[in-house]
Symmetry: C2
Subunit: 251 residues, 2 copies
């Protein structure tokens, strides 16, 4: 799956194990980091689900997503405490046991030295058959089970692991995104948008009201892996705008 | 469903219609606002799914969630352009037609006056049988179809609608959340956490490493609708901490 062998767009799903997000204690910061990484790689993130730290729920989501998408990324639930059940859930999703990975065990013992506790070593558990992905600049490995990346929820570490995702998942054609800001609202722009949507079916066109912006009232986005197609769609749209309605271009 | 008639905890699901989030263009801001609102009302947000602006996908998610949860909240896809398909999707999820709501139609005509366009009036469409929820301080109504709130994605408007949710969904016992910050890491704390988890099963206990905090290394949270139970669990945990390991209490 790391080789770009076909033109089919690769797809992905994020599973955010996040009782702390669903209870409003913190806002998620990992989905955006993952989305932007995958965009550069030409992988389309089709779905993200945020669920409670519940073993059976994670297991069901991982099983379904692993079958449906090329790549799955879990975030959270990989520490040593009672609410960290992602490793066990991923193992069960593939009908595998949880085993201690000797290499991670050795790394933990080395890192903690005399301060090591049994609980620290719980972080050496992986689903049987999981592989470790690492690099020279990210020596602490990421655990990957089949097409499922099991990533930590701590944002700083999650973001660090994105480098491993980039190297391992690999890039086909990145998605490009161009924008237009207009002083007209969506109601006035709709006939022009519809015309470009119809004439440029290969470009994904989005329209977003900018509620708090007095001048840049609407943002139009033109996305595709083919940059020339994005540019052509945007030019076609700009050509339809009445005088004075174009405020800015981006990208 | 607005009357707290039983002790069963009410549940909710968020469906975020968000191609712009999955493509990494913007970060969601509505899930946190919804989560914190529901927490105050004593409603447990069990699940949030972020999906593409795709009619069939939204329809499937709404149908499933409406059957499984007490309340469902959609965010986004309610404007007048081609990528705004949430109203149609919600209607289909309940096998209903999309109809023009005369009252919203009149409000739009009044708001836009001579500048009104056909596209503006598209925003008067609702699933047949939907009701409007409004209040003196939030006169522009929210559309509610059975147990599904169809809310706009623009964060400022979404947040404004939370006042309507508070009034309509109503409060049973709010969830309380108390915290402890410790200078010990999760590996060292685990035996103490396990003891309190076992002795306080009615309290939801969470443990979160604070990766960038040199002193407040771990945050423990104690959540329940019964505040006294939260306090008892936290006190039991604090009593187990070795000297110097308690950094701060919150909540």
């Amino acid at each position: 799956m790391t080789e770009p062998t076909t033109a089919r767009v690769r797809t992905a799903c994020a599973i955010i194990v996040g009782s702390e997000i669903l209870s409003g204690k913190i806002d998620d910061r990992n989905l955006g980091a993952l989305a932007r990484t995958l965009r550069k790689l030409g992988v389309r993130l089709d779905r993200a689900v945020t669920i409670l730290d519940d073993r059976a729920t994670i297991e069901r989501e991982v099983r379904e997503a692993s079958a449906r998408f090329d790549w799955v990324f879990t975030s959270g639930g990989v520490g040593p405490t009672h609410d960290d059940v992602t490793i066990e859930a991923v193992a069960r999703a593939f009908d595998e046991a949880v085993v201690v990975h000797d290499e991670i065990d050795a790394m933990i013992r080395k890192a903690y030295g005399e301060r090591v506790r049994d609980a620290h070593l719980l972080m050496a558990r992986v689903p049987r058959g999981a592989r470790l992905v690492r690099s020279a600049d990210v020596p602490w490995p990421a655990v990957v089970m089949r097409n499922v990346w099991v990533l930590p929820g701590v944002p700083e570490i999650f973001q660090l692991k994105m480098r491993l995702v980039e190297a391992e998942v690999g890039a086909t054609a990145a998605f490009h995104s161009l924008s237009v800001f207009s002083s007209l609202d969506e109601g006035h722009l709709k006939p022009m948008i519809d015309e470009v949507v119809a004439s440029h079916p290969a470009v994904d066109i989005g329209s977003y009201p900018q509620w708090t912006e007095p001048v840049r009232k609407t943002k139009l986005t033109f996305d595709a892996q083919d940059r020339a197609a994005c540019e052509a769609a945007r030019e076609a749209f700009v050509a339809l705008l009445p005088e004075g309605a174009l405020v800015a271009l981006e990208g």
